[in-house]
Symmetry: C2
């Protein structure tokens, strides 16, 4: 049994808690969250399940000292600037970390100093750290790398993750610009409120490092997906002519040649305009490989699953800051089926 | 640079030799083959390339002593009964092994005693052994396992590899019964000359072990694929009404329930009857995942690629008898593109 605690009880953190509770080889021992109304409450009750005896702590270090986890899952934020100190505080207690912070999926190029510091501390404390999730972490990096393994050589990679944002709430609608006018979308890109996908640089560097490719520059484009029809979800209403989502594209060049192109158009209700969602990977090489997963692996469930399923592999791994390319592939842990 | 020698210079062994020669971080140092006409010849010349200075040896241990490889790729045979002594002779020289023998992909259940002996010797000599290839080794096991990693839970797995045998020669035609009459096909199954796919049990045990599933029994069916039309390749002619290939299906049960079904219909010229070749994986769980690769990853190139691309990972791995589920995913090594 691996003892696991969770830092952050939002949509992802609570989903990971629920998933851990279902797994035979994992034991949830504690949760930390900043929301005072949760503190001291039973995690099972908060999840609408039976009482578990596992409670929510207001201080992560106190939680660790009282519950002795083997690993803490950090599900608080996308950015290293926020999660770095959280990660380090756990490592210093000699405890392994998995985080779903997108920037941690492969931070060695994008955040070299922080990555180096985290790696050194992890090694000194003989524990390991992994940044993972469905994307970055799996669809547009690990899965691509795995498929190149069946190639004698690879010239170029083109992949797309075409998904449906309809289940997501107001925060995601805002960061993707859903429901804005084209002018508001442009403005949102400029003032940084509309960000598109976080993780393209990390995925590209993970692929390039695995393949031994030197990337000279990465160019990113964020375009509005203009809706021709009315699209309406529980959280947003998109008028015809307004923005249904953000088509975010990243292109990586090596010696002036486009070698990796990743596309991630994220929108609400794509089926209204007959857009088929899916994960698509095309490898140009010998042989060419053309893979599709239809519909796409859902983002929320996929991230919860991978963060949970990697726990035993991270606890058993050699120490240091790891990526998904350093570890065996995730596998669904056995548990109650719900 | 990893120094690599090859045992067996048939279609696969010579393909791996050619691929190794193209890779910057691999150095081919020797080849062993039993064919006396090759002995002492330059491997580059035998491959129709420039002279390499690498020669063919008639004795594998002499080759090892003279060339000091880090790893030997064994590409001689599908069966453990044949490759076991070959593998052990290499391990005893403290040298790592990759073999494409299908039965070595996951031998812990199907050949427990041999697997145990090989594992113990590998550990004692501080080296590692991996059985791999496109299938078993990748499409119907590693890739399935990886996709389950994005699932909260998995109930059932169904996968198919629908491929084209047209490029293959007389041996493959015979073991798959291509060109036989339906009566000859039945007879061939009975006398063991027609075997279908080798590796289903290994793939199933690899998946089940990764997922923590207990398999009670595996049932295998081999059916003739009767051609409606004339199908003719360089090596075989299939009359209408005769056998174009073997549809081999394996079903694994746990507590009386079908949990894994793998299908591998292998035939010549499937397009004549509008059969679309491809690799298909369907996971029934939460979420369901439906993946397809069209056309299928070609078997010969795929096996050559994976056996080559795993070399650095096997040399760097912890000692013992490993499977693809124990190691990071393969990745295409950088080299000359040809």
């Amino acid at each position: 049994m691996y003892r696991v605690a969770i830092w952050g009880f939002g949509a992802m953190g609570s989903g990971i808690a629920r998933n851990i509770l279902s797994k035979y080889e994992l034991q949830l021992v504690g949760v930390h969250d900043v929301r005072t109304e949760y503190i001291g409450k039973d995690v099972g009750n908060l999840l609408g399940l039976e009482k578990t005896g596992v409670k929510v702590y207001d201080n992560p270090i106190e939680m660790i000292k009282k519950t002795n986890p083997d690993l803490v899952v950090i599900a608080t934020n996308s950015f290293i600037s926020v999660v770095k100190d959280q990660i380090i505080s756990i490592l210093k207690e000699n405890i392994n970390v998995i985080t779903i912070a997108e920037e941690m999926a492969h931070p060695f190029y994008t955040n070299f100093e922080a990555a180096n510091e985290i790696n050194n501390i992890a090694i000194r404390h003989n524990v390991s750290v992994l940044g993972t999730g469905i994307n970055p972490g799996f669809v547009l990096d690990t899965l691509i790398i795995a498929l190149t393994g069946a190639c004698l050589n690879v010239k170029k990679i083109k992949a797309a993750r075409i998904n449906d944002l309809s289940p997501f709430g107001p925060t995601v609608m805002e960061t993707q610009g859903v429901g804005t006018t084209p002018e508001e979308f442009e403005e949102g890109l400029k003032n940084g409120k509309i960000v598109g996908h976080i993780g393209f640089e990390q995925s590209i560097h993970m692929i390039a490092e695995a393949l031994g490719w030197k990337i000279d520059n990465i160019e990113q484009v964020r375009e509005p997906i203009i809706s021709k029809a009315l699209r309406e979800t529980k959280y947003v209403k998109v008028q015809p002519g307004n923005v249904a989502g953000c088509r975010h594209i990243a292109r990586a060049y090596s010696n002036g040649e486009l070698v990796i192109e990743l596309e991630h158009p994220q929108q609400v209700l794509p089926e209204i305009e007959n857009v088929q969602t899916g994960d698509y990977i095309n490898i140009e090489g010998n042989p060419n490989i053309s893979m599709s997963i239809k519909p796409e692996i859902p983002g929320g469930k996929g991230t919860i699953a991978i963060a949970t399923n990697m726990i035993p592999l991270v606890v058993e791994a050699d120490p240091g800051l790891l990526t998904m390319a350093d570890l065996p592939v995730p596998r669904s842990l056995i548990g109650e089926i719900y």
